[in-house]
Symmetry: C2
């Protein structure tokens, strides 16, 4: 694995909160790329400009650092989800809003999508507390149930349906490096143009898949 050069040889700030956050940022990138077991504290330190001794000073060990990264990520994503206030929308509008937001959020924060998928694959969701699922899937499940009761949607099972919708929303981003070969050489799947195109198509497919009126 290639060495990662120091991004910025900044002067020591002696700002605890700033240092802590920069370690979290660097760790998020590293964990997203190689997972908990592949990550090297040395490599994380190099990305931040502080030494790896700092990682142990702030987080004690690598596992705790990973935990902290996951917690921050779930909290942020939960806040974004809440900010949509989908309960006030019609089921159909609610699902559209969520689908677009999940898809765009994943594409704009590919590390978050990677980390969540890696967490399931490599750690069997050990560090992905049950409450996070509620945060992430709750509003979608509620909207689907509302829509099904009102007869707006043809499907009958909110759980399987939600899993499939989220799969459609994030697979493009998660598997981008495998999928890229489908397009002409050099195409960036996460460029604004490609994303807009993908989002539009996906939104239509999701609503059609639901049999939305």
């Amino acid at each position: 694995m290639e060495k990662i050069a120091k991004i910025a040889v900044k002067a020591p700030t002696r700002d605890a909160e700033a240092t802590r956050n920069s370690i979290l940022d660097a760790a998020e990138q590293e964990f997203a790329k190689v997972g908990l077991w592949g990550a090297r504290t040395e490599s994380i330190a190099a990305r931040t400009g502080v030494t790896k001794a700092m990682i142990h000073y702030y987080f004690e060990n690598k596992e705790n650092l990973y935990r902290a990264v996951m917690e921050r990520l779930i909290m942020r994503r939960g806040a974004e989800m809440e900010s949509l206030h989908v309960a006030e929308l019609s089921p159909c509008e609610a699902v559209s809003t969520i689908v677009r937001n999940v898809l765009m959020y994943a594409a704009e924060h590919p590390n978050v999508a990677s980390l969540i998928v890696l967490e399931g694959l490599q750690n069997q969701g050990k560090y992905y507390c049950e409450t996070s699922l509620g945060t992430l899937y709750g509003p979608l499940l509620d909207s689907l149930k509302r829509g099904m009761e009102a007869g707006d949607f043809a499907t009958a099972d909110p759980l399987h349906t939600a899993a499939n919708l989220i799969g459609m929303c994030i697979y493009y981003t998660v598997a981008r490096d495998n999928l890229k070969n489908l397009w002409p050489e050099g195409t960036n799947l996460l460029s604004p143009d490609m994303l807009e195109e993908h989002c539009e198509i996906t939104l239509k497919m999701c609503l059609a898949a639901l049999g939305a009126k």
Copy 2:
């Protein structure tokens, strides 16, 4: 990471092909769980009952072993895909056949699904040769194009559409350890009953998403 005990302390077989294959099997499991960088040759050896010296004897180093695992997996999957002979079916039947097969194959070989996704996330598809994409997506793309030309499908872009369909087919398996908390405690997402239920719902959603007649 927990130690993995020897599965079977079998008597040395001195059967080169058998040993080679058992190493590949063990490596497939290990790589699927922790990826190329997280995998430990010691751990792979422990799963097989031979020593790690054998891994170097047969594959020289860990990277080559990984490459061999990926090649075998792509070949097997390609053979399964070809055996469907979807070119002889109507576009709609072809897509149905592929969707069901991809979904079921992933669920019955979760390691394969994991490895392909991990390969993209961790190695940017470096060991996932371009030809493999043709093998895996070719028949689906052809079927979609045929269907679009014949006016059987409402969608117009085979690439984005294919990515979304495959996403729906494998996300359930790939993210099973994150999703499991949506269902009552102890539910096995890959049990025959759950799978049949999921497959049926997914098939309907896929066809609806295509606007299939």
